[in-house]
Amino acid sequence: MHLLFKYKTMTKKIHTLLFLSMITISGCNEFLSETPDNRAKLDSKEKIAELLVSAYPEANYIPFCEAMSDNVEDNFGGTQDVTNADPYFWRDGAATWQDSPEFYWNGCYTAIAAANHALRAIEQSEDPAFFNAQKGEALLARAYTHFMLVNLFAHTYNTQTSDTDPGIPYVTDPETVSLKTYERKTVQYVYEMIEKDLTEGLPLINDQEYGGDGNNASNIARFHFTRAAAHAFASRFYLFKRDYDKVIEHANWVLNGNDISSAMRPWTSTYRTYTTNELSIAYTRSTEKANLLLCETQSDWGSTFRSFRYSTGAGRIDEITIQNNPAADHYAYSSYYTNTGIYFIYKFRQHFVRIGTNSTTGYPYTILPLFTVEEVLLNRAEAYAMQTQFHEALDEINVFISNRVLNYNPEIHDVTFNRLYNLYQENDNKKAIVRAILELRRIEFLHEGLRWFDILRHRIPVTHTTHDGQVMELRPDDPRRILQIPAEAISVGGLEPNPR
């Protein structure tokens, strides 16, 4: 009896306890939902826009693209580094730090993750249309980074094999598990996805959204996909895709209504008056109108472009500016050279972000021009040429040359079929004009890495010679033209490596 009573009161007590603990547990989840620190929350349009600031790769493709290309040679005595030597010898480097292919791979996917998180936040918002401009920017940034990756780490696009050539993972969802595997699909698939994002995102872009009421809106806008930058990207994309009508269409958007000459870099005027310090600041600054899209990258290129052993030297400068120069005169670019024979145009400047206010160590940053007016102009010229609109192509070339030689005189400097034939010994007008355009691109974008993509697109063979006379050739079908997928992307990410 005694026990029974005890049992009853105890069950009663237990029930009360259970009830109380139920309340506390549900209260607990509320209690434990406090954010542990001052991390940000994506709860406004402004913050989604801020997340998109990091949707551009903070990594540099130029150092290895330049070193793989035919812009460089062996300048014995220059600074040695594997991020320079490995690509010169077209080796799969093990470097993972700044200016290595793997670092660029990681930088691109980090940018893609930012775009994807922004897109996810927009999707989950109550009124996604309110965030259209941000959606546009995110789609463009995602398309651009995948575009750069697929061209470096997979076969160059071509209509015959791209539907079977392995691509790179096109990531559209935020990663949520500790270690995830991915698949490469095909180059064709990646291009379709890029085009989808590009065409969906481009009309949503709204230049007014960059900076808003700030005084420095225009400066900041240069670091984002504005309409102009988006069309510039489209012109590059369709050039790679060989869809020349679209190249012209998008290039027109950028160039129309502009006095092209005044939009181009003033090599023949203002730049001539600059000291090296001034030029290096102006070249990648937002006040330079020719810069359509700028991006800060964690990179040492701001100092190594003029010191690396495998860089542009006397031989290549002669080849580029004299032997293959379609302009029939010296260019107005002011170049310098070092005692180790390195020739350079002072385009870059290192921005050194110290780890403490006065420390001597820190991280080097370099600002890159991702898209320029010059590229769009030359993209359109190439598209004209490919579509056999030779006169339009020549006009474009001559506009370009008029801003790149001193004391421009159309009589002397304008490119003609005849001169091109003499220069390149090429009968086919189309090939000759394209050759001229590629050479102009080569000098205009020297130290900027774009030559490597021209080499890929036009299957140009590359020859590298070493200091002691060893000659190496990279033929159009050489598998080493495609960068190897990073080791952990293979082992952890489950990707197929590229053949070697």
């Binding site: 009896m1 005694h2 009573f5 603990s21 607990c28 989840n29 209690f31 434990l32 939902s33 406090e34 954010t35 542990p36 620190d37 001052n38 991390r39 940000a40 801020e50 997340l51 600031v53 990091s54 993972t96 793997e102 791979w105 990681n106 996917y109 980090t110 940018a111 893609i112 993750a113 990531v171 935020p174 990663e175 500790s178 270690l179 995830k180 595997t181 991915y182 005084n215 420095n216 400066n219 670091f223 310090n277 290096s280 600041i281 937002s286 972000v353 780890i355 403490g356 006065n358 420390s359 001597t360 160590t361 600002i367 990073p486 952990e488 992307a489 952890v492 990410g493 489950g494 990707l495």
Partner: protein, 1211 residues
């Protein structure tokens, strides 16, 4: 019948409740009731009766007093004849006397009623007496005196006296910590004096283990724990409680990585348990978890940065307030802490008030720190140093034109500067002619200077510590109050500290069932330390950088003895640092950090005995800590002047404290601090709350089965905030007027730094736990615990935030077995085993995606914008860091002389957080995820013996030994060379948590004397790329953390004297020697004596491993390689970490009672303690380098040698 019974029971229950209510009500009325009773009893009567009956006497009293008496008229004794006289005496006394010889007694009732009843049949005896200690003959306050078989009893007062009214024939039980429990049967005598004998079994350990949740009988405790009484481990003169644990508890390693006040030692309970986590034990004070003000990991403790001074959890505690410390070591002991217990728990119990008359204790400590001396270090004297400089001069290293452009310089630079500038136009003469004779004459003074920097920068400081404690109490309420003051006027000329603490604690027993406690304590600290900024790691060259370091210890070790502090006329003499004049004496006075700390804690406890078995307990606490760190850099300091050095173009282009303005790309850098100095302030605040509700159920079945169940719930909440603000151009000598050049702000913003900022962390924990302990006949004990912890630290995900932990354990008290009864030699013998899971939150908080705001690293101000980066992608797999621990333990006592505790444990650590390289495709190339594994094992041993107890001489001895070894079994991190070779070591699979690796030294180059190594590619050469990931060519030296630690304490007692000699030791680890080598030395550098053996001529490489001072040609050939820095991290620069230290020697004299009898003091003692006096053994290669101390500059100082005079008085 049944029904009735049921009904009766119910009624009884209600009645019971009413009684309870009444008792509470009674309690509330007590003050009032006492007042009423007071008036009633103060009634006085005057009466004179002779030979009357008691009945008649009562009648007389009724008339006299106006009171009415009630009694049963049939009481025989009413008819007894009595005589009584009283002259204005209290009524109660008179009645008492009247009934004294009868079997009757009286009671006052309300309303002037007095009832006369029969006395109890059995006689009550009033027993009193005094309890003294059998060994020291001191009186023992606080001894428990209880009536056997009941809960009735009392506690002896301050003089060891007790009084108790008991029935005849009962047994009194006298029990006290550390003494054998004694029983005495009460017969007729009313004075029972007892001398309690020391219990050899509990020489080091008490019989109760406090886990912070429960007070467990040691015999029923199945976990591994060490309990230390504060009086046993208290080291006079040592302020920080955590340092006192060194060598005292097996399994606990304490390394004094810095001796500066407020800097916590590196404490590890049974070794490290995490690769990336903090590895710090949990501190619990009076059952409440003590949160750290700032989170500083064990590794950060060695940086010497100012925030290490607020890193010690217990720096605000007065050591005299501590009663005992319990270290909970294994999973069973810490089980109730569940997911926070992985690194062990240290439970502190503070003192409570004691029953008895007020007792006041005073402790005064007067210490002095001894100056360090060059005798202990191998530093060149000024003559030898000057001869090295002249070799450097010959090699073209100290040449005239280069020196005048250098940012730093000593006597040579000064000489050249005088030669350059000293032309006097009026006299047409040079102060110093550039001739070899004049130069030699000039340098001669310095060569003979032999400056003793230690003497100049250090003092035999005076440290005083006063602590006053007051304890008082009755059965119902006890109060403890203490206040202390600590003042250290500084071991160096750059530091001092003072601290007040206050502690008030009251415990109140409101009724038999309800008790209540309230504690408030606070401390305030004001401290000055040398000005310093955070240390940076230069991974390019392989060294630590700290601009403007003026740490006196580092300065004395690293500064040439050729330099002088005063010139010939006695004025301060300046040399050059950062292109600006520098004198250390001047600098420490104009560049300093003021630290202010205020710490307040309030705690309330409540307990309610619901039934005889069930008890409810509540604990609530709140703590508030505010600290301010003000770095004051006055305008005349070298640090401020360095920002203004722009005399020549060479200086302008070389001075990194000037600003290169990108708006004027062709101009030299400019000064951005034209006036004033710096006022840089940092504020750390912490507020924490703690709440606990707990039910204890303790039941004994059939007197053999004992079951204890505990269940509860707790909540912890911690808010921390750090803010900083840097003031540029503060003018200290102009009343604090700020003069800020906007360019300095522009410079900062362009460099992506903010001049002010604020950050916070918020921790929330909720936990539910339950535990059961079953014992059969105190012979077999089984224990199990489960706990569920929730935390917000992992991030927003609701699944990751909860973690259950559990534990099972058992103990077998072998000595209670029949077969052991006859073995007389064995006093007690217990075997224990336990297995369980504990955990800790790791350093990853991304259970959902973590966004972090920042600004873009762009060079131009107008291009900069805010950005949000993804700091961590969502990780659904994120969980707590965990470990399974198996513990097997044995504790035994032999011959009433020897006690032994031995534990063996294995730990299986898993789900440890470490960084792993991923595919990068998700957008986070390096992720911190739970994948790493580690195994560790170890032995804790402690032995206590009474070696000798003969003719008043008593010698007891305690030996503590801990062994711990860990091995990482799965780790895919990618360390670079510099991660592994620096003094803190690094983690790699197959090695301990912190392994020290070395660059493999391969002798000196026969032609140049430059060191060669096996480089990162496996080739022999001078160029080791410290950022290389190729770590396979490094040489493994050993763990950074000692594998063996312990202590050996001996106490000799003869009459009133006692002497304690305490040694600590460690072994098994390797130490990186202080970096002493550079490729280029300046005329400021002090050089170690090894330099006398350096390579000078080809062929020397066969006898010497000390590299040459490279000449200019060799220096140029080195280019951008750093073989000398590599040498600092080579296999040549490693020493063995083993040492034996004379930790303390203390001689105490207790004034005997006969001397004190005439005074007001009940106890007095005086003692002299020497702390940290010398190393009995250490690797000779250390040359005076303290094997515990990391010479990291900043605010770090080694633990000083110290002598303390201590006075203790009890009133």
């Amino acid at each position: 019948m049944k029904k009735t019974g049921y009904g009766q029971l119910k009624v009884w229950s209600v009645l019971n409740k009413i009684i309870l209510v009444m008792k509470i009500w009674l309690f509330l009325m007590i003050p009032l009731g006492v007042a009423m009773a007071g008036t009633a009893h103060s009634q006085n009567v005057t009466i004179a009766l002779k030979d009357v009956t008691v009945r008649q006497a009562l009648h007389a009293l009724e008339r006299e007093s106006g009171y009415s008496f009630f009694y049963n008229d049939s009481f025989e004794d009413l008819n007894k004849n009595v005589s009584i006289t009283a002259q204005n005496e209290p009524l109660g006394t008179v009645i008492g006397r009247l009934l004294d010889r009868t079997a009757l007694t009286h009671k006052f009732l309300e309303g002037k009623l007095i009832v006369i009843v029969l006395r109890d049949v059995e006689e009550k005896v009033k027993v009193k007496g005094q309890v003294i200690a059998g060994d020291t003959k001191e009186t023992l306050p606080g001894v428990n005196v209880t009536v056997k078989g009941t809960t009735r009893g009392t506690i002896t007062n301050a003089n060891g006296e007790y009084t108790l009214e008991v029935d005849q024939g009962v047994t009194l039980v006298f029990s006290f910590v550390g003494y054998l429990t004694t029983e005495v049967i009460v017969s007729s005598e009313t004075v029972i004096n007892i001398a309690l004998q020391v219990d050899a079994k509990t020489l080091n350990e008490v019989t109760v283990v406090s886990t912070g949740y429960q007070e467990m009988d040691k015999r029923l405790f199945t976990g591994s724990a060490v309990t230390l009484a504060a009086k046993d481990i208290k080291t006079e003169g040592t302020v920080d409680l955590s340092r006192m644990l060194q060598g005292r508890a097996a399994g606990v390693s304490v390394q004094n990585v810095s001796g500066t006040f407020g800097a916590a030692p590196k404490i590890r309970v049974r070794g490290a348990t995490s690769i990336t986590g903090d590895n710090k034990p949990l501190w619990v004070i009076d059952n409440v978890v003590l949160e750290d003000v700032v989170n500083i990991s064990a590794e950060q403790l060695t940086t010497g940065d100012p925030n290490t001074l607020i890193g010690s959890s217990v720096a605000g505690l007065n050591a005299d307030d501590i009663e005992s410390i319990t270290v909970l070591k294994d999973a069973s002991a810490t089980a109730l802490y569940g997911a926070r217990a992985k690194d062990g728990v240290i439970v502190i119990k503070t003192k409570k008030g004691r029953v008895g008359k007020p007792q006041i204790t005073y402790t005064g400590n007067f210490s002095t720190y001894l100056k360090p001396s060059y005798d202990n270090f191998n530093i060149l004297n000024s003559v030898d140093q000057m001869s090295v400089y002249s070799e450097m001069e010959r090699k073209g290293l100290l040449n005239h034109s280069d020196m005048s452009m250098l940012p730093n310089g000593g006597v040579y630079k000064k000489m050249y500067d005088i030669i350059n500038d000293s032309f006097n136009e009026e006299t047409d003469e040079y102060e110093l002619l550039n001739t070899p004779e004049e130069r030699r004459a000039y340098l001669r003074r310095y060569a003979l200077a032999n400056t003793d920097w230690f003497d100049l920068l250090f003092k035999n400081s005076f440290v005083q510590e006063h602590s006053l404690g007051l304890s008082s109490g009755t059965e119902a309420s006890q109060l403890y109050f203490s206040a202390s003051y600590y003042n250290d006027n500084g071991w160096t000329i750059a530091d001092n500290v003072d601290r007040y603490t206050l502690n008030a604690r009251g415990t109140f027993k409101l009724s038999d069932k309800v008790s209540f406690g309230l504690t408030a304590n606070g401390s305030s600290r004001v401290q000055r330390v040398p000005g310093t900024i955070a240390r940076e790691v230069n991974v390019v060259e392989g060294m630590y950088n700290r601009d403007f370091d003026i740490n006196p210890f580092s300065y004395a070790l690293n500064t040439s003895r050729v330099l002088t502090a005063y010139d010939e006329t006695g004025n301060l003499e300046y040399f050059t640092r950062n292109y600006a004049p520098f004198n250390i004496m001047h600098e420490v006075n104009s560049n300093y950090i003021d630290l202010n700390l205020l710490d307040l804690r309030l705690q309330g406890d409540f307990s309610y005995q619901v039934t005889r078995d069930l008890k409810y307990e509540f604990v609530g606490a709140v703590r508030d800590v505010r600290t301010t760190t003000e770095h004051k850099v006055e305008e005349a300091s070298n640090m401020a002047e360095a920002y203004r050095a722009d005399d020549t173009q060479v200086i302008r282009q070389g001075n990194k404290f000037l600003y290169y303005n990108p708006d004027f790309p062709n101009l030299d850098p400019v000064v951005v601090l034209p006036e004033g100095g710096f006022y840089n302030r940092s504020d750390d605040q912490m507020r924490s709350y703690y709440l606990k509700n707990q039910l204890n159920w303790d039941h004994k079945f059939n007197s053999r089965h004992n079951l204890t169940v505990v269940a509860g719930q707790e909540i912890r909440l911690v808010n921390r905030q750090n803010s900083y603000s840097n003031g540029y151009g503060y003018q200290f000598n102009k009343g604090g007027l700020a003069f800020t050049d906007y360019l300095i702000i522009k410079q900062l913003l362009e460099g992506n730094f903010q001049y002010f900022g604020m950050g916070y962390t918020r921790e929330r924990y909720a936990s539910f736990y339950a535990g059961a302990n079953y014992s059969w006949n105190d012979k077999y004990v089984f224990n199990t615990t489960v706990r569920m912890d929730g935390s917000n630290r992992l991030g927003e995900s609701r699944t990751a935030r909860w973690l259950p932990t559990w534990n099972v354990s058992a103990a077998w008290n072998l000595d209670t077995e029949a077969f052991m009864k006859d073995i007389r030699a064995i006093d007690f013998f217990t075997l224990k085993a336990g297995y369980g899971l504990t955990a800790n939150v790791g350093n990853a908080t991304n259970s959902s995606v973590v966004y972090r705001s920042g600004t873009t690293p762009r060079p131009h101000f107008e291009e900069t914008e805010s950005q949000i980066i993804i700091e961590g992608l969502e990780n659904q797999d994120l969980t707590w860091e965990k470990q399974y621990e198996t513990n097997i333990g044995l504790s035994a006592g032999f011959l009433n002389k020897i006690t032994l505790t031995l534990d063996y444990y294995r730990r299986n650590h898993f789900d440890l957080i470490s960084v792993i390289k991923t595919s990068g495709i998700g957008g986070e190339p390096y992720k911190a995820i739970n994948y790493a594994d580690m195994k560790s094992r170890g032995v804790d041993l402690s032995v206590g013996t009474t070696v000798l107890d003969h003719r008043g001489l008593n010698w007891t001895s305690n030996f503590v030994f801990s062994f711990n070894k860990s091995r990482i079994t799965n780790l895919k991190n990618l360390p670079r060379i510099y991660n592994l070779v620096f003094q803190d070591g690094g983690a790699q699979q197959g090695y301990p948590v912190r392994g020290l690796f070395s660059i493999d030294f391969q002798g000196l180059d026969p032609e140049t004397g430059i060191p060669n190594f096996i480089d990162h590619n496996g080739n022999v050469g001078t160029d080791v790329y410290l950022q290389s990931l190729n770590t396979q060519y490094l040489k493994y030296e050993g763990p950074v953390d000692p594998t063996v630690t312990g202590g050996f304490s001996n106490t000799f007692r003869y009459k009133d004297f006692s002497l304690n000699v305490f040694l600590t030791y460690q072994a098994g680890n390797k130490i990186r020697l202080n970096p002493a080598f550079k490729s280029a030395y300046s005329d400021l550098d002090a050089m170690p004596r090894e330099f006398l053996d350096r390579w000078i001529l080809p062929g020397d490489e066969q006898y010497s491993n000390v590299p040459a001072i490279p000449d200019l040609a060799n220096l140029a050939a080195l280019g951008a390689t750093y073989p000398y820095n590599a040498y600092n991290y080579s296999s040549e620069r490693v020493a063995d970490g083993s040492f034996i230290r004379m930790r303390t020697i203390a001689l105490t004299y207790d004034f005997p009672a006969r001397l004190l009898s005439g005074t007001t003091f009940s106890n007095a003692s005086i003692s002299l303690t020497g702390t940290n006096l010398w190393l009995l053994y250490a690797d000779k290669r250390l040359y005076g380098q303290d094997p515990e101390f990391f010479t990291s500059g900043g605010v770090a100082l080694p633990v000083a040698r110290q002598v303390t005079l201590s006075v203790k008085l009890t009133l």
